[in-house]
Symmetry: C2
Subunit: 410 residues, 2 copies
């Protein structure tokens, strides 16, 4: 035996970036349960329970609510490639990196793209979407709910009605907000919503919940082809075949239905994680959880503002679970992040694209949307910024955040 690098041995880092966030201990423990075969009755019962749990997490009655075996981006691609045949239209709301990602993936589906755009830090008015949809008559409207690149939460209200008025489907990427901000799938009239576990759901990256309305399911089922080797010598089906096998939601519905038609081998440990994460979320209660995230975000915002730091983006539309902190002149942007990690074992996020070098993205998600994590992060940021020579009143950040918590407790 030559070097096999030793056991995992890393510090218990506090993850206060844009995600992943720290995983709830119950979820970590669930992953160590023994694996079962994918057609085992105990396992298919867990699959059905997972579907039921995520219906509640997504606030939907959708039958087709299950998991994609991949990271959150896998579910985005599954949604887009299963709906969009080449040449079909999609109207994409783009005001950040993850709006761009939707256009990147839809482009690979060879869809006809119409972008409705806003500058980073702003959101898009429903009227602009309605106008674009009326012109383009797309198959799909696609948008990101919380775009962590900008820390903005796009209002989804009204988009479902626009989609229905024009015979389109509505897709919402809720990766960064599910479990942290309200995701009223049915009330929004959203036809497909996808997410991940690693932000507000308190799980690890690697499993991606998805929910599909009956309208979406019917559209996708019309493109259904049974896999060769299951149905016989030839693939059977109708419509243009979905370009991906792994992300073919028609086949995945067959797999997650009582038919249990063989597809991939379900990632059992990640399913255990997803199931346990949903149990933790629902046992806390969605409304309580959203309020906890909002309070943590308010405390973080008050803290950094009390230190004299600017907070990025339209205040009316900020995500509650991540705060865009404008890096002040004269401090070393990268060194601040490094010292947060090396001196305090705290991770905060850098920024992308036009915001690179200008914004620190400080998240408070899942188990970290709590007082101690917010206060500890602010105390550390104070110490690091003092070391950089940034002028502010020591203790002001922590005290302002503490005041928000005390006020909420009254």
């Amino acid at each position: 035996m030559s070097d096999t690098f030793g056991e995992l041995d890393h510090p218990p880092r506090l993850l206060m970036g844009p995600g992943p966030s720290n995983v709830h201990p119950r979820v970590l423990r669930a992953m160590s349960a023994s694996v079962l075969g994918q057609f085992d009755p105990e396992f298919t019962a867990y699959m059905n329970q997972t579907m039921a749990l995520y219906r509640r997490v997504f606030a939907t009655a959708n039958r087709w609510t299950f998991l994609i075996d991949g990271t959150s981006r896998a579910a985005i691609e599954a949604a887009l490639v299963s709906v969009l045949a080449p040449g079909e239209g999609v109207v994409i709301l783009n005001a950040g990196r993850f709006g761009l990602l939707l256009s990147e993936i839809a482009g690979r589906c060879e869809a006809e793209l119409t972008l409705v755009e806003a500058p980073w830090g702003e959101v898009i008015a429903p009227e602009a979407v309605a106008a674009a949809v009326a012109r383009a008559k797309p198959r799909l409207i696609a948008c990101v709910h919380g775009d962590t690149s900008t820390t903005m939460a796009q209002p989804i209200e009204g988009l479902g009605a626009i989609a229905r008025a024009h015979g389109a489907l509505l897709y919402v990427d809720a990766t960064a907000t599910l479990g942290g901000m309200p995701i009223p799938t049915d009330a929004w009239g959203a036809d497909i919503v996808t997410a991940g576990l690693q932000k507000c759901m308190g799980g690890p990256p690697g499993s991606a919940p998805i929910t599909l309305s009956d309208r979406a399911a019917e559209h996708i089922a019309a493109r259904r082809h049974v896999e060769r080797g299951l149905a016989g010598a030839e693939a059977v089906g109708a419509g243009r075949r979905i370009a991906s096998n792994y992300f073919d939601l028609a086949m995945l519905m067959d797999y997650w239905s009582d038919k249990r038609l063989n597809h991939h081998t379900e990632a059992a440990s990640m399913l255990y994680a997803a199931r346990e994460a949903a149990r933790v979320v629902l046992e806390e209660g969605l409304e309580v959880r959203f309020a906890r995230h909002a309070l943590a975000g308010a405390a973080m915002t008050a803290g950094v503002e009390a230190m004299g730091l600017g907070v990025y983006g339209d205040p009316a539309h900020r995500m509650s679970n991540i705060t865009g902190v404008i890096a002040p002149q004269g401090v070393d942007y990268d060194r601040v992040r490094t010292r947060m990690r090396t001196d305090f074992e705290i991770e905060i996020g850098a920024a992308f694209g036009p915001l690179a070098g200008k914004l620190w993205r400080i998240g408070a998600m899942g188990i970290n949307a709590r007082k101690h994590a917010v206060l500890t992060t602010l105390a550390a940021l104070e110490a690091v910024l003092r070391g950089e020579g940034f002028g502010f009143t020591s203790g002001s950040g922590v005290d302002a955040a503490m005041a928000i918590y005390e006020q909420a407790a009254r």
Copy 2:
């Protein structure tokens, strides 16, 4: 709080089917380590270590050896969609369900398919492949090493030379054999090999190791497009864009390189599992491990044959880690599997397609390629078949397997 179904609470089932197999306890424990951010230096060090470990597992010097965040099928699709542009040729060796799967996925890539086929239970001669390649002049030759649907192991020797002689790349799906049978990637001249963790690697499904030769990497890199939002307003790149974003190996190479160009959020817990599984495999030693699997397979085969049961497929080309047991006339095929599970907590596999209802597939993989698992399975099978009225000498199966182990110990 309404019903959240309670904690995971299933029996410790012995998984003796075609996979998933039981996970090594070290791998289960590794998954409960705390998650790190994907660009954290500790985490990127784990990524680099994982690359180094899998180079040894794949017996290759390939720089590009990493993980796909999905089940084994995800890596198959990543390989095919990243190599094959629409209209390009692929010669596929098809002698089972997983050969058909290659054709199903390649079909969705809109590749030109040439199938070289053999009846289930047989393997394909290199001469037949050479003839097809000479005619079709494909971009890629694609084959399955161990096809669990038939329990046959396709010889790969010679295929690398055929590929090189005709300017093609060679892809091998080693999902069911990596860690259990020799996978000499470089000696085979294989350009891409993919696998999963849930068979002989002793891990859970959900992470898929892949290795790419420099030739394969160069071909794929020539199709490289940087994602919008990373490079600026417009995608840049050359060649026909890879149809998938999630499975774009060109982008994944950038992500796993020192560039660390943002792609998905690496599934940290599954990476911990993959890393630990490789450590366990390499600490045991590949040759020792292959011999252990071969011995378990020989014992299982001797056991079922001593009971008077037939074993499926060409004896010269059977996989060592799974045994196709021909169900005898007069016994209830499904009830045997059910009673194995309900009376003994042992899972054995059913069969697909032309073998459905005719063959039980009994695996001995990973931690289950051991004496106690083989003997316990045979003892249980004896009891269940006695209950079905199948005539054989009680104890003959267990004793024959025991004799193989005793002989090997001498």
